[in-house]
């Protein structure tokens, strides 16, 4: 029996985030998950509506939550694949739970449209959380038929999944390893990417290209520095910014970067052995072909590489007279994904 969730795709799913849409359509059935799209949902307001009017923005989101409450069909989980949609839905739910006054105001507004929302009756979760918590890494690993070994990926989770984190689901809000672990379970080589939750620029590409393009540049430069073939994202807005504006960024800074950015679901599909064209590959502006070439050739490791790998796997012994100071143990809860 398929696990069912309510689904709030968000406005970009049909446009700029089409590849995300395609890959979700392909991958989720394989994991026996059914997403029931919320009927007649409206825009979440992105990062813009809060700045026009906080209360109207909450009412706007409130309508979606109210729809979800009406359309519950054995599940109270509303899944959002877009980080901005996710945070907007989660915020309104969190705020009406915390403030009776706000709940009353939002419901007052909703009543004008013949609707109402009971605070807390819908659980808003990001698609990544569903993958990590409900499906589970081991289960995902079971579906891998074409490990992505040789493909070096920079896990770029972006800002809004682990922050502000209204329900305290993330222990690590700046350096979570959830996406790293997921990609590792697909067999990919995951690079240590220190900008994993930095900002993609958000609306800055629209309102201040100086800053917006610089933020994109930092993400790309850092990914290159860490040796990644591609960035992996969980948000259509991040994808759009890094992908679409990369050329303009190159132009502005007189540089020549070519860093594709892919949705994590696309990579899941690839690892599950699905054909690339069903997963929205080719829709990206910065082509992923050079990156994918790395796994197109399933060459065995050279002797040197094997020796290197084996050396890396052996625990280091301290040489006599080695002055190196021991480094602190990594966080004990590092294995905890977030």
């Amino acid at each position: 029996m398929a696990t069912q969730y309510m689904y709030y795709p968000g406005c970009s799913m049909d446009g700029t985030g089409k590849a995300y849409h395609d890959s979700i359509e392909a991958v989720l059935p394989a994991l026996d998950i059914r997403l029931a799209e919320l009927d007649d949902w409206n825009c979440c307001g992105a990062t813009e509506y809060m700045g026009i009017s906080p209360l109207r923005s909450q009412a706007l989101v409130g309508r979606n939550l109210a729809l979800a409450e009406q359309q519950k069909n054995g599940t109270d989980t509303l899944v959002a694949p877009c980080s901005a949609c996710y945070v907007n839905l989660a915020r309104t739910d969190a705020y009406v739970r915390e403030s009776e006054e706000l709940a009353a105001n939002v419901n007052d507004a909703l009543s004008a449209g013949g609707m109402s929302y009971t605070p807390g009756s819908v659980k808003v979760r990001h698609l990544l959380e569903i993958m990590i918590d409900d499906v589970g890494l081991n289960e995902i690993h079971q579906h891998v038929t074409r490990p992505l070994a040789g493909l070096k990926l920079a896990p770029y989770m972006g800002c809004l999944v682990s922050r502000p984190d209204y329900d305290d689901r993330w222990q690590h809000r700046e350096h979570p390893h959830a996406l790293d672990q997921l990609l590792l379970h697909l067999g990919a080589d995951v690079v240590e990417y220190s900008r994993r939750t930095d900002c993609c620029g958000g609306h800055m590409t629209q309102i201040s290209p100086d800053t917006g393009l610089e933020l994109i540049r930092r993400l790309i430069v850092e990914a290159e520095r860490s040796g990644a073939h591609a960035l992996v994202t969980v948000c259509p807005m991040c994808q759009m910014n890094v992908d679409f504006y990369q050329r303009e960024m190159n132009h502005r800074f007189h540089e020549d970067h070519h860093m594709p950015i892919l949705f994590f679901t696309q990579l899941m599909g690839l690892a599950f052995g699905m054909p690339a064209k069903d997963l929205g590959f080719g829709r990206e502006i910065i082509s992923a072909r050079p990156a994918l070439a790395n796994i197109g050739i399933e060459a065995p490791l050279t002797e040197e590489e094997e020796a290197e790998r084996a050396a890396a796997a052996r625990p280091k012994r301290r040489r006599r007279g080695d002055p190196t100071l021991p480094a602190p143990e990594p966080r004990a809860d590092q294995e905890a994904l977030r």
Binding site: R218, R225, R318, D322, P323, L325, P326, P328, P330
Partner: protein
Amino acid sequence: MTTPKTGVYVCHCGTNIAAVVDVEEVRDWAASELADKGVVVARDYPFMCSSLGQELIENDIKEYGLERVVVAACSPHMHEKTFREASSNAGLNPYLTELVSIREQVSWVHTDKAKATDKAKAVIAGGVYRVSEQEPLEPLIAPVNSATLIVGGGIAGITAALEIASAGYPVHIVEREPSIGGHMAQYDKTFPTLDCAACILTPKMVDAGAHPNITLHTWSEVVDVSGSVGDFKIKVKHKPRYVVEEDCTGCGICVDKCPVQVIDTGFESGIGYRKAIYTPFPQAVPKYPVLTPENCTYFAKGTCKACEKFCPVDCIDFTQTDEYVELNVGNILLATGFQPFDARRIEAYGYGRLPNVFTSMEFERMSNAAGPTGGKIVLRDGVTEPKSVVIVHCVGSRDKNTNEYCSAICCMQSLKFAHLVKEHTDADVYECYIDMRTPGKGYDEFYNRILDEGTQFIRGRVAEVTDSLRYPEEAGCEGRLMVQVEDTLAGVKRRVPADMVILSTGLEPQPDATEVARMFGVGCSSNGFIIERHAKLAPVATMTDGVFAAGATLGPRDIPTSVSNGAAAAATILSRIAQGEIAMEPYRATVDAERCSGCRICNDLCPFSAITFDEDAMVTEINPKLCQGCGVCVAACPANAISGSGFSHLQIMAQIDGLLSDTSGGAGRHAEEAVGATA
């Protein structure tokens, strides 16, 4: 019922009370309207607590033969004792004197004079009604065992131990590490004078180790506490050292021969190594090494025994197990200290991810001449000297995401680090701080000295430490760290390139502070530090009689404060021992066996295990030495068989009546209402 003769004394407290409460009106009202409750004299006086004010009361007790006294003045927490002693001097049982608060509860919190005056009357009426039901009480007397248990052998514990032992009384120090010395032994220099920590600490450690009145229980833990003030019974677990202490000469050959080297996360704070059998540092007291089975090859594989083979006195014993000893002591001092904040918890600072981010304890060991680098300030590679060092203040302090409190020592410790870096290297040093807090003796002078040495100060809390560079402006900084901070005085954001970042970590309670507090029956605030009996006036006592606390177990504090705490606790304990017996407030619950139905409802209510059930007589008994007087059992007893002295049912009911009594002087409001209802 005969009403006892009562005197009422209304204090002006200068103008503190008199400016809001009409004290004369209150006095007259008490004299006339409370006469039927036994008030025979009512007076007002500018300062009742002065010696003249007290004399007034004493004279009246003699002249009028007063049987009860009510003083309307400040809070009982302020002067209850004063007035009880005054009564006692005049021959009246001290517990027959009641202090009611018309300052903290009336004049300081209300502005409407008529209403404040009215409330003052009610408060006095409550006191008069209540004290009329009070019975004379005698303080409880208990003998005091002259031995003292000190838990924790850091500088606070050592100081207290030496004071008490030198006065001629036995002391037991229980320390869970292999050596006494505590955190102070790890430091190189101490602020602000920059004395070498070992130079001032080791003589004290040696004294403590050699003192005939001090027994050291190192590598040991207290596992059980019972009894009460004057007569505690303590169970101490000695963990196996696998070294026979009686025979060991401390020669150190076993340590040399041990082939297993492990990272020393204890004394060396994780930047040095130790053997599987080790003494944490050369000056350790006692000198006997400790073997840790989890690291030992013999325990893992059954072979090796290098230590045993080479030991010249055959004192290695792999068969040792936990040993338990029982101690009887009269007083307990908790000096369990702190643990440094785990800097991994602030992800933005990169500790544990970025190798050249160090914690303050790591830096302390690094700067120590006896430490892993021999005192050289170097990066994690062990060789490179930093060119630029940024010291980050308030790591794990003043942060609602971690610890809300100020850790008190970090500003000074950071300044010390700046000095040490400057002393040992040519590096540029930056201090990023929120507020510079240097309130100790010579501390601000030290700050000035560091300013003078050329350390650069940036007023701003560091936002993040990163290895991700920005181009082109940071080209050439590859491999370095960038410290991102808003310089709030200049109003600009800065990215300071650094080779080394030192996180000035705050102080946290020991990880098991809550369990320790529970075991000793003392209160612990929600952050885990022990609560003192009174933050200002009883700073080293706890709410539990006979249990004291000193040093960082009470909250973050530096060495001078910890030492004064230890000395203060020692003085308090010595005064208890010198008295030979102690008087305790007689607020205790007692069972009237006649009325006890044996229902046992009260039996599970006492957290101090004072309530037991006598199976033969089928009645409940309360041990007055264990009873703390909370009164929960009194309230719960369905047969009214338990009474609580000082807070009896009759007293409280009387006070309720008094507080709600009519203060108008004429026919009362409630009388009218009642008439109206029945008419």
